[in-house]
Structures are given as C-alpha cells and as structure tokens.
C-alpha cells in the first residue's frame, strides 16, 4: 500500500486523453496547483473537468484551457476567465453549469456510495429540464446523479503517508468531497508527514479515499480579489 509518489508528474502520469477529472478548489483557493501544472506539461487533451470554477486566464484551470486541453467543464460559476468565454461562445468548449450545492452534493454522493440525490435547487428553472421531479411533503425536488470521475485531484494543507488529509480554512471547500468521489484520488499537500504524526481526531479525509499523495512545492496561492480595510 505505497501511496506516496515522487511528484505531480508521477501522480498524473497515467491520466489519459478523454479522462473525467474532479479538481478541487473554490476560485483559486485550495486548487491543486502542482497537478494542474503537470497536466499542462503532459499535454493530455479532451478532458472533462468537474470543478466549481475554471480558474483565471493565466492560473488554475485557465492554464489548461489556454492549451485547449479541456473538452467540457462542469462548474457552477465561470465568470473570471476571458479565454473561457471566448471558447464557450465559439463552441470549442462544452459547458454544463449546475448549482453549487448540487455540484458539491453530487461529489459527496459518489464518495458515500449513493447513486443519486434529491435537491430543490433549480426546480422550475432551465436546470430542471429533462430531470425527474419528485414531490416530498409538498415541495418539489430534482433527481441528480452522483458524479463518476476517473480521477479526483485535490489539494490539502497536511497529509500523511497513509493518505489522511487535513485542509486549511476555506481552502477545504470542494476538496474533501472530490477526494471521496474519484475512482483514483490524487492528493497534493503542503506538508507530508509520516503516518501517526497527525491527530486522528482532526483528519478531514480518511486515507482510504486517497490513492496517491505527494508533497507539492512552490505554491503560489494566488489571491483573486485582494480586499483590505484601512487601519484607524
């Protein structure tokens, strides 16, 4: 059960063209920077990416979009990316926009072994078109299916050699849900420690869900909207 790999290039080396990927992060917060860079280097193409956002023009998934490696994005919000918009309007890129809670819960369902969920999000909107609607206690809900992803790629703050993960602050976001949801889960961490060094009380993702882990390097952690207040 050797989960530790050398680096991002080794971690993603068998990801083929046409793979379905889950990529953790919210905006640029908590994204697997090292693995995205490795996927760009590898040049793998026609990917389907399940990710809340699509990065910005020159960072995050935006780097993969620029190289035209992405065939389809499944996201809830894609507002910050001009190249994305261009590819979308020109028809080069297929996009499925779904409510953020639905996105999160469809990842979770995959990791919980549940084939589908019911959610009220999107009832009566174009999101509901073609979907089964069920009424529970007088309220309508949409049937939404668990995602099926070939690989989940997540970023954690700390991890151990058994694959247990701990996230930092709001960099947690979709990461633990996607870590549960992939057929093969790759975790990059800021600090990799030996099994036994993390307090079992504080583990967010149990190692059973994680197949490959490595300590990432050179994290840029770019801030999308720097907002500050004045000191008095």
């Amino acid at each position: 059960m050797k989960k530790v790999v050398l680096d991002a290039d080794e971690a993603v080396k068998d990801i083929p063209d046409n793979a379905v990927l889950m990529l953790g992060g919210f905006g640029l917060c908590g994204i697997p920077e090292n693995c995205i860079a490795a996927l760009v280097r590898k040049g793998v193409s026609d990917l389907t990416c399940i990710s809340n956002n699509a990065g910005v023009d020159d960072f995050g998934i935006g780097l993969m979009l620029k190289q035209k490696q992405v065939k389809k994005m499944i996201s809830s919000y894609v507002g910050e990316n001009a190249e994305f918009e261009r590819q979308l309007l020109s028809g080069e890129l297929e996009v499925e926009l779904i409510p953020q809670g639905t996105l999160a819960t469809r990842c979770m369902a995959a990791g919980y072994g549940m084939p589908a969920i019911f959610t009220p999000a999107g009832v009566g909107t174009e999101v509901a078109v073609g979907k089964e609607v069920r009424n529970f206690n007088g309220k309508e809900y949409l049937l939404e299916y668990a995602f099926e992803a070939d690989f989940a790629i997540v970023k954690a703050w700390k991890g151990d050699t058994d694959g247990n993960l701990i996230y930092m602050e709001t960099a947690r976001n979709f990461n633990p849900l996607m870590a549960m949801g992939g057929r093969v889960t790759i975790a990059e961490v800021e600090e990799l420690v030996s099994a036994g060094e993390l307090d079992p009380n504080n583990i967010h993702t149990p190692g059973i869900y994680v197949h490959r882990i490595f300590q990432g390097k050179d994290y840029e952690k770019r801030i999308e909207q720097k907002t500050i207040r004045k000191r008095n």
């Binding site: 919210f26 905006g27 640029l28 917060c29 908590g30 809340n52 996201s75 809830s76 919000y77 894609v78 507002g79 910050e80 918009e85 979308l88 996009v95 926009l97 779904i98 409510p99 953020q100 809670g101 639905t102 996105l103 999160a104 819960t105 990842c107 979770m108 959610t119 009220p120 999000a121 999107g122 009832v123 009566g124 909107t125 174009e126 999101v127 703050w157 996230y167 930092m168 602050e169 709001t170 960099a171 947690r172 976001n173 979709f174 990461n175 633990p176 849900l177 967010h204 952690k221 770019r222 801030i223 999308e224 909207q225 720097k226 907002t227 500050i228 207040r229 000191r231």
Partner: protein, 218 residues
Amino acid sequence: MALTKEQIAKRIARELRDGYYVNLGIGIPTLVANYIPEGINVVLQSENGLLGMGPFPFEGEEDPDLINAGKQTITTVPGSAFFDSALSFGMIRAGKVDLTVLGAMEVSENGDIANWKIPDKMVKGMGGAMDLVASAKNIIVAMMHSNPKGESKLLPECTLPLTGVRCVKKIVSDLAVLDVTDKGFKLLERAPGVSVEEIRSKTAGKLIIEGEIPEMNV
C-alpha cells in the same frame, strides 16, 4: 431622492434580528455587514465553507486560504467554523440559515427571481444562488428599481432565465420597500422624497398600495 447602494444596505440591515444566521450575496448585499445595528449579533455564512465571517483583513494580513464566496480576502470572528461545500449547502438546504440577501436582475410579482444569466450576453453561472433561493426561509432582494435602460425590474413575469420560483419575500430597491404577496408587490415604504406615483410608474408588475405609505427612515 433615490437611495444610494449604501442606504439600501442600511435599510436591509434593519431587518436583521439578534441571533440570525445570514448569507449575504455579492454586491449591495455584502454592504449590509457594514450596518448591523447596535446590540444585534448575527453570524455571517459564506457558502464556500465558513460561519462567522469577519471584516476584510488589514493590509499585509491577507490569507490566500481565507476567502468569501465572492473570492475576497476576509477574516474570521471568534466562534467561527470552517466546513466543506456539501455541508455548507446542507445547512442552507435544511433551512438553518435565517436570512438570505441577494441581488437580482428581475423579480416577478409572484416572487420568481432571475439573476444568473442573460442569454447570448452573460453566461457566468448561478454559483450558489439557485441552492440559496430554493431553500432559504426568508429572502430579501437588494436591487435598483429599474435597469440601466430605465426599464422596471419588478415585472408581472420574469423575462430572463429563472434562478428560482415563488421565493422572494421582500424587496428593498433604491425607491421602495415592498413585500411580495400572493396578490403582487405590496408597497410598504418609499425612499425619502420619492412619490407613490413615481414608484407606481416604475413598477411594471402589480403594485398594491393601501393607505398612507410612509417614508423610509435611513
């Protein structure tokens, strides 16, 4: 005089009650946090995974791992908690969040809201808005009464793709405070110096006016 964005936020802040858990959307709703009345304690929920959002950080103290749903750098207040996105929308779906404040492009007289898409022009996505409006117990919309073209945003029916149906409870615009009722928009208050006639002429949906309409106190 029509209200400024800050005054809209200030008026909405008067709807807050002690102990409320509140989700504030992007834009005018975010400003509501600046006007929380004295003696009222509310906990701000940010749907990317935080309860207990604090103010923006001081220069040099920004933390890239700590952002709000608008991707802005923020801080936490004592008693805050982090969680994943499924849990975040779990608490929203389960009705634990007392009040949601969000912006809108259009609201219809039966409470439908459109705020995520303009076909062929703006396709950024709904983010968490559809989840929020489908489950929130109380939804207040903060918006301008008319769009930049001067057309009413309070309509008999929305023309843009919907975010949610029959969900908006109250609207605070630059001109008025209105409840959304079974019978249409019910005018409650008008902005200082704005006449009932002006509000009537700028409200395309059904407007209910009963008795004297007081001026807002902002």
